[in-house]
Symmetry: C2
DNA sequence: TTGTACGCGTTATCAA
DNA sequence: TTGATAACGCGTACAA
């Protein structure tokens, strides 16, 4: 074995201390750059540690210190790029601050989400950022019982819990007003059907639906608000119920749904926006590649990630995390 | 405090043992369902544990057992949905087997990738799956020094290391043959320029380039193989150098690049495939929303994730992980 | 069936 | 400047 060669044997403070003829405490002082050690001793120990390929045992360290420098991130999936963008942004921010990320997926399943939280808690993560599919007082109490800072993104869990997102209500209302200003006589609101056993009554869905309804009711339109699932919307298109003469716009609760509807419309030979209007929500990166450009609601994803991380970090350090509502913007595409 | 109420105080074997008037060993037998304990004792202990809201301390457990039931996943980013799809698939597979995922991003930076690996090693993950941006014998030796199973996906690291992917060479050659069969007289191959400081000579890029070159050289075409970066390709489009009369196809090393080129062509009013052909590689889910349908190379992402996980799992359990080459398929879209 | 004692690798406190 | 020792929470081998 040559000097400097990387070795695969597990080397701990113990081996180093024996070789150097010092105590564990001194090895610790050298490795972790603590004061109260002779420079020469430190140099000698560090040299040996390097030769042996010493690697700190983070589990042992965390057990001793109580801190893991890790935050948990729980999102429904990575398929919807809203979540993968969010996860990536949080990852980068965390890393800059010396933190790392444990990623868990809930699949829009409330039980899986709870299991994820249990595990993160058992792993002693320092904090958790989640787009929660659970919510309400009892869930909030449960989170509190974790004795770990938890901040939510997008889906508000309760009034008292730190939350970062946009004003979904106003954003949707603004979008609907924009649609109405274009002379549409009817707007159908489409939400995502996530399948059996999956959570459907998400906070941000509700806020968006309310924004839609209020915008409609405040308008001169006589057509009542209509909220349907994406499945139902497709069925309506097939039955011809969607286009009954009135100038109609299909407003989707998120881009993901809007893209699917756009495909369905294309398949059926229905022109957008000539025959029917379409709007989304999120302004996903992938919209860049979709023609026609979707009219949607944009907001700064990077800042959401940053603020969410800042918020957990505050709570980790004993300060109040606090909620932040970020600004939104209507992206005037070509589908309305 | 009511019975059954969730409590936030940290509760360990010690508290439970004191309350129940038994030893730590007995608490362990009850909690971890070990034999050699009186059913009544067990029931009593479990009841108390439940009341107190006991949660296992996974760090302590891992320190004692040496196993974390966690695998590390290192990918460049989550923006390219190839990676987010992969991460999600691995996540699900791991979870089904009782494993969890620690996610790290390398940003196509070889140093960041090494740091990620160091951390995963220090966290004592049981295994690692990565789309490596480093490679070669010395890197392979470094991985071996981690004393942790590492299998690579897509980018092969060395001949001896377990790897899961497709035959990039044949896949690209097949795609090029398909393009040639459509009467194209020239094919330009475009790779991704990941920016300064980022890795560019990836294994799969190289394999695809070779497949491209060999297909061209085996053809009747007199035009020499031309490999350029996406930046350079855009410049060529502006200078008009790309379309000089010959029937040309732009073959991209991945869908991500192809989509960007497609946008560029659209912006410049160049019709696809009428004026120029275009192919991608990966068959990303998001292609579903892009018109015209991109001609590309498809492969089963779920199976790649499954096989990769199966391979690490094998190595974790002391068996040889082994490499697997999965099948690919040319997706005949509308861009050639 | 139950209890004891040691080890996992590190940090932290107190003496020396 | 250094060393010894007790945590941290749990697993495990052995003894009772």
């Amino acid at each position: 074995m040559r000097a400097g060669e990387i070795v695969s044997v597990k080397v701990t403070f113990k081996e180093i201390s024996e070789i150097c003829g010092v105590s564990l405490g001194t090895v610790d002082r050298a490795i972790n750059n603590r004061p109260g050690i002779h420079p020469e001793t430190r140099a000698r120990i560090l040299e040996v540690a390097k030769q042996l390929g010493y690697r700190p045992h983070l589990l042992a360290r965390s057990l001793a210190t109580g801190s893991t420098m890790t935050i948990g991130v729980v999102v429904p999936n990575l398929t919807n790029s809203f979540f993968s963008e969010l996860a990536e942004v949080i990852q980068k921010g965390a890393r800059r601050a010396g933190y790392y990320v444990y990623l868990m997926l809930s699949e829009y399943d409330s039980v899986e989400e709870m299991e994820s939280l249990e595990r993160l808690r058992s792993l002693n993560v320092d904090g958790i950022i989640m787009t929660s599919v659970n919510r309400g007082r009892s869930f909030d109490a449960y989170l509190t019982s974790l004795a770990t800072p938890v901040v939510s993104v997008s889906n508000r869990i309760s009034k008292r819990r730190a939350w970062v997102g946009i004003d979904d209500y106003s954003a949707t209302r603004d979008a609907m007003r924009f649609v109405l200003s274009k002379g549409y006589e009817r707007i159908i609101f489409v939400t995502e059907n996530r399948g059996p056993g999956k959570v459907s009554n998400l906070y941000c869905d509700e806020r968006r639906i309310r924004g839609y309804k209020d915008a409609l009711q405040a308008s001169a339109l006589d057509a009542p608000p209509t909220v349907v699932s994406d499945d139902a919307m497709l069925a309506m298109l097939d039955s011809g119920g969607a286009l009954d003469g009135k100038r109609t716009c299909i407003a989707c609760s998120c881009d993901e749904v809007a893209l699917n509807i756009l495909n369905a419309l294309r398949t059926r030979g229905i022109a957008v926006p000539a025959e029917v209007g379409l709007t989304g929500f999120d302004n996903l990166d992938q919209l860049e590649y979709v023609v026609p450009r979707l009219t949607t609601v944009a907001y700064p994803m990077e800042r959401i990630g940053e603020e969410a991380f800042k918020s957990v970090l505050d709570e980790i350090n004993g300060r109040a995390g606090g909620s932040r509502t970020l600004e939104h913007l209507i992206v005037e595409g070509e589908t309305v």
